[in-house]
Amino acid sequence: MTKLDIYTRVHTVNLSDSDQEEDVAENDPPRLPPSVVVLDTETTEDLGLDLEFGCYAVCDWLDGIYVPREYGILFDKLKSEFEQVIREYADCHPSGIVEPGQPKLRVRTHTDFIKNVFWPVLRAGGAAVGLNLGFDLSRIAIGYSEKQDGRSFDFFTRDYLDKKTGKRKLSSVVPAITRTSIDSKKSFYGLHFSFAHKADGSPVLSKEEVAEFRKSRFVDVRTLAFSLTNQSYSLETLLIALDAPADVMKLKYVPGPITEEKIEYCFHDVKGTLWALNKLVAEFLRHPIKLPIDRAYSPVSLAKSYLKKMNIIPPQEKFDIPPEFQAAAMEAFYAGRAETKIRKIEMPVVYLDFTSQYPSVFQLLRGQEIVIAESLAFEECTAEAQALLDGLKREDLFERDVWPQLRFFGQLTPDGDILPVRAAYNGKTPNIAFNHFVYDQPIFYAGPELADAKISGNGKSPKLLKAFRVVPQGIQPGLGPVMLRGEVPIDPLEGDLAPKIVESRARVKKSNRWLANFLKVMANGGMFYGLFAQVSPERKDQEVAVQVFTGNQTFVSLTRDIEKTGDWYCPLLASLIVSAGHLLLAMAERSVRDAGSCHVLMDTDSLAAVSSEHSRFIPCPGGPHRLPDGREAVKALSWEETLETVVEPFDRLHPYDRNRVEDHFLKVDDINLGPDGRQRQLYAFSISSKRYCLYTYSGDGKRKIVKVSAHGLGYLMPPFDDPPEARKTEGREEHKWIYEAWEWILARELDGEEAARSYRMPWFAYPAMMQLTVTTPHAIKRLKHMPWARPMNFMNAPLIAHALLPPEVAADHFSLVGPYNPNSAMWSDATYFNRYDGKPYRIGVEPDAIPYLSYGSILQSYRLHPESKFLGPDGATCNSDTRGVLQRMTVDGITKYPLRKESNRRWAEGNDLSLIEDDEDDPTGGIFKRDGKQSYHHVKQPLPAEVQEWLNTLSLKLIERELRIDRNSLRNGRNGKPVARIAQKKLLVLFRMAKRGIGVTEALKAMRSASAMLGKLQNSKLRPRNKVVADPTLKNKIANCGLRELMRETGLSQHTIEAIRAGKAIRRKTLQRVVQFLDGRRG
């Protein structure tokens, strides 16, 4: 048994925000800005990346596209020779604009551009547009400041000469631009006004001017493309994806000082960005939603707009879900399942994946009933849930009717059940694995997870302490249909959304690429899971009190870092959906196992089952079979067997019309098919979770990789160029270096060290390099405020071999960064700077150089990465050499910690400075600490005005009696005085019901029964199995000991010791402490 602390997600409520405080509904700006200024900048090539010059286009919206009105070049503080180059270029190059008469390119200074182009366009309600807009804005900024939230910068664009001091100061005649970094694909932009006053007391900016500035908009083409396609692009790859004509495609980068070619390159980028913008806008306008283009941050933004258009009220607004139920659901929330089962043994496989997994389970669980419900009820269902689990057989789960019955959450003290457990298996970061779990405290799991435990284990049912189910009630009035992308009609009142979307996609997959892609994005990226799980970390300027709810307790935490939830946050749904996905994979695993075989790996919605054209046995340590020579082996199912025993049974669950979605529900992925469309033999090699590759063998015995995972490698810069066109032509999803890396890994692992030599590439010797971007104030702090550390600067950062540093170098204060350069041939010769003290260094093998980690050494570590979540075939800890079928471990949970949102930006971003060391300022992945004495239920706030008015019309006596709120509190509520939250909640629920037309008496009756239900759940009289009563002998011994001595030696309170003496039930572990003390005394 492995003792580990465990971590669970929690539900939080910010005590400082009033419940009634609603975001002031801003008037949504028009969908499209009437004009844009498209911007691209070129910089110096040192660490500072200072602005050299930029190109821009001022465009107007006319007849369905943005039409340029002015092209120009801006520059700032250049040497005269470079300014001359720019002016000559402008003189010789016509702008290409005939009307309204801009024959030449304009040349402007930075100040001229800001004053006469940038801000006038923005004040007119126009938008600043760029690809990776934040970088260009940071280049045209003349100064910046860091905001307290740790994620934002203010960029200042104008200054003035202070006549008194003779110094230049930041001007308040224009606002600062605030950029808040969310992730690598999106940022929020806003304005920050200083509201300064002149000497005479009048404001520098009038109200009308402020209102005008507030019309400013910011559009990052990269974010827009992501929201429409769910993919991340550079300008080059975006133009390719949009099938741009050759004359718009990106030119090759021109390094060095300013030349005509460099200006031409920059202009080309502006024109390319404008072309891409027009194409994306045309696509965006096909969607009949009101979403403004600069608020399209991700596919979830589009999904929310469509749901809004259907008049579906968001769960947070519609349902009044007690925080205790939200907490139970959050505790039960575990992300997608990824694991390795057979480590470091080449296995023939068939790669299977579930058709649209999340929409499918949403459909199976009838999630739509919850989304469109008028209200939700929560029913205690302990007995029914236990009966369901007790009687559940694997075959039952292939019946669609069973799945809605799994829409419950059960609390238990796990006793060896196979359940997802979040623990720091590697000793550092919490990770999720499905293991045997023993824990003497109650913990919630979602119904599908409990069903999974039943079928995955030895048939033993998890024993529930209590359970509640979610019961949707009624249908929300006012729902209406919508046309997805103006082409696919969907109506929440007629049929189910998920099948409609998935079936429509299957229909148009070959004929309408954009529509098919959009439907895929909606199905997989937004509408059926993502938005219900949205939680965004936010840093406040000062500590606030947050009420933290775990599955079985609540406490207050004082923190600056809160978890902000969106309107669509609904952990009840999110947990059920993701756990249902786990269940599908567990069923597939069980099917494979029952057929006598095994799987190699799982990854969220896919599974690689050991399978070959003809059934055979393959030697594998830990395998359940034996070869004639005694070696352990794994059975490979034949392809036919795989189809019959694993794939086809799932068709009974198929949520879609088979005439439209011909694929099996658990389908044989296309990757199993060769170019001729016939099935080919795939092989899988897996090192650990998400570190695997799939490949084939050609006739001459050469391996060809067909699917590769960049997980754990993607944070490094590519050591050579791989043009996107080549990637597209060769059908590669990842950069070529990842494929070459895996070719070496496979050779090293399967053919030996000698044979692997021929796969060693020259770039193996290059210094492993990361590209770092300064996106947040945290990152600036990490750079110890070096003068060249500016927002949005990016730089190269070689990975240092800290273990080989000379003794005089303080390893914990040593980290190098250097000028950004994607050309790997120049990395070894560059000068780098220690970001702690700014001193310059060279890297290399020479005595005076700093030793670095090469790509080769990174790959060496990569292939030796152990799978710490499971045990080896022999039951020992999995180490770097472990090979074979891994076993689940038994996790004995010690203490349960409340975890914040776990995925911080590191692996997602791949390039934040905090990646190369722990960032104590990054709260994600951390835990909530217990603090403060404020109680959630007793914090007082006044009622909203309309509730006060309404309360004045009601009989206080009735409310007092039915809701058990004392008369004084009610009078206070009426008069606008603060009222305890517990009373507020009840009154608000009653008010909302009254607003929907439900009579007061009826509403009170409903609340009474709901309250009784909640009370029943909270006050469960079942004694947890971990409590015991001291036997009479022990009680006598304790009675004969001095109370003080007992308290001192055991650390228990007087209250606890007296409870033991009185024969009350005490936690087993507590009693053990007393027993140990008494045994020690005897000894």
Binding site: D60, Q102, F118, P120, V121, A124
Partner: protein, 113 residues
């Protein structure tokens, strides 16, 4: 030639914001050139600052001339009753002229083949 397109855009947007309509048009003569359109107070600014319509400069000038002919002067009335009377008369005069314009357009349309 537009020397500063960005500033021209800002001026245009400010005009459109003042007019409160992104596709403004004079209802009397059909003029759509933004530079010619203004927001006119139908009964007079002092009588009702919120009752406005878009008119081109020419029609605006004609309207005020017609008001003078109809003895509707742009002056502050002494009493609430006289204020209401002048509001109604100004609105009636405006609509009379509008009706004439509609008749005129209908006549033109009849001549189309």
């Amino acid at each position: 030639m537009i020397a500063e397109p960005a500033k021209a855009i800002l001026r245009r947007e400010r005009r459109l914001a003042r007019l409160g309509n992104r596709t403004p048009c004079c209802p009397r003569c059909g003029e759509t050139a933004l530079v010619c359109l203004r927001l006119d107070h139908v009964t007079g600014h002092k009588r009702d600052p919120n009752f406005t319509e878009i008119l081109c400069l020419n029609c605006h000038a004609k309207k005020h001339d017609q008001f003078q002919d109809a003895d509707i002067l742009m002056m502050r009335e002494g009493s609430a009753k006289s204020l209401m009377i002048m509001r109604l008369r100004a609105a009636a005069e405006t609509q009379r002229k509008q009706a004439e314009a509609f008749d005129h357009w209908a006549d033109e349309m009849e001549k189309w083949s």
